[in-house]
Amino acid sequence: MNEKNALLKDPMLLLLLCACPILGATTNVLAALAMGGALLLVLVLSSVILSALQNMLSRQAKLAAALLLAAGFTSVLQQLMHAFQPDVSSKLGIYLAVAAVDVMVFLSTDSRPLGDNLKNSVIAGLFLIVVLAAVAAVREVFGNASFAGMEISFLSGYKVPILMQASGGFAAFAVIAAVINAIRAKKDICLLSYADAAGFLASENGTKEEKS
């Protein structure tokens, strides 16, 4: 198949499906970059193994295999992060664990060559790192008057503490998503429903949800 992965054709869908780590791990830029790196690593490793197994598994087995692979690699990353970067690990908390669930959405369940899967995973992972860093920068700079833990003294009197809470996370993510939306300058409403994404997962052909 030469067509692009449906998720990569619509970055909004990609952002929606990864809303959990984008919202949960962006109170600190370092934590956001660590989460982005973890997601990229899990994506790439899982897609490599899944590509190797794709011809041996049925469609439903691919879903289970993708989830277990992502969970396995996430467990390994959790242990490594806990051992070598306990501060970052404690900041990420439960969001690193559930990143397994978020990541497996991107793992292609249709029969693509390894090169395509790898390329799609790398592109998705790098895009997520950029978005995570952008949201974290907005939240930490304006919400906590700091950047990657370093205090920005001239902003300390102008903090907006709500940005560090849940509602601020949603708002900051909304602004970044709107910027991405504006840059892409799509003519139609670009949100695909989660059912479409689920259908993408369940279908053999990933082009089911493409807009004409």
């Binding site: 879903l63 277990l68 664990a97 708002a171 998503a177 939306n181 949100l191």
Partner: protein, 187 residues
């Protein structure tokens, strides 16, 4: 541990500690749904049942199998497998009882970060079995409530003008931000 404190766990899970709107677990599913309310109610209840059953299974697995044998590093994989099995069993039961399979909801539930997040938090908080069950019930009902709340908000959004850059995901995120602010009042 009194009955009142157990009930407060449920109420807390629905309001102050709503997993979708306060902890972002399951936020993608809550923000991204486009079905009618009946379909959303069915999805919400299915997720609530899966969360409850998952907590019921993972707590003894963690307490009596993984922790005593120093197998904590397998927690995530075991929990993911449990979620898959329980979702499949729920689908079979729904097919037999209601004649309505989960269909496209199956991967949505199996890939739901709220389910895995609830499972992980029910064992990490060091609570008893009953508390874990009631907490999971609250989390599941909170997810269903968040789904229905967002559906109501989206109906109103559709009637209004939204700038092009904010159409779709951004305006839904802003709506979720306002809902989340409302829930802070219950903390």
């Amino acid at each position: 541990m009194t009955f009142k404190s157990l009930l407060l766990l449920i109420v807390g899970g629905v309001l102050a500690n709503n997993y979708a709107l306060e902890k972002f677990l399951g936020a993608a599913q809550v923000i991204g749904r486009a079905e009618k309310r009946k379909g959303l109610a069915r999805l919400g209840l299915s997720v609530a049942v899966v969360i409850f059953l998952t907590a019921a299974v993972v707590w003894p697995v963690q307490t009596y199998l993984l922790a005593p044998n120093s197998l904590g590093f397998l927690q995530l994989m075991v929990f993911a497998a449990v979620v898959l099995v329980i979702t499949a069993l729920t689908e079979s039961c729904l097919k037999k009882i209601c004649k309505e399979p989960l269909g496209a909801f199956f991967p949505v539930i199996a890939v739901n970060s709220a389910v895995l997040g609830a499972a992980v938090s029910s064992v990490s908080s060091g609570t008893g079995y009953l508390e874990a069950l009631f907490s999971a019930a609250g989390i599941g009902l909170g997810f269903a409530a968040a789904l229905l709340l967002m559906a109501g908000v989206e109906e109103k959004i559709e009637e209004q003008y939204v700038p092009k850059a904010f159409q779709g995901l951004p305006v839904r995120l802003l709506a979720a931000a306002i809902l989340s602010m409302a829930l802070v009042a219950f903390k």
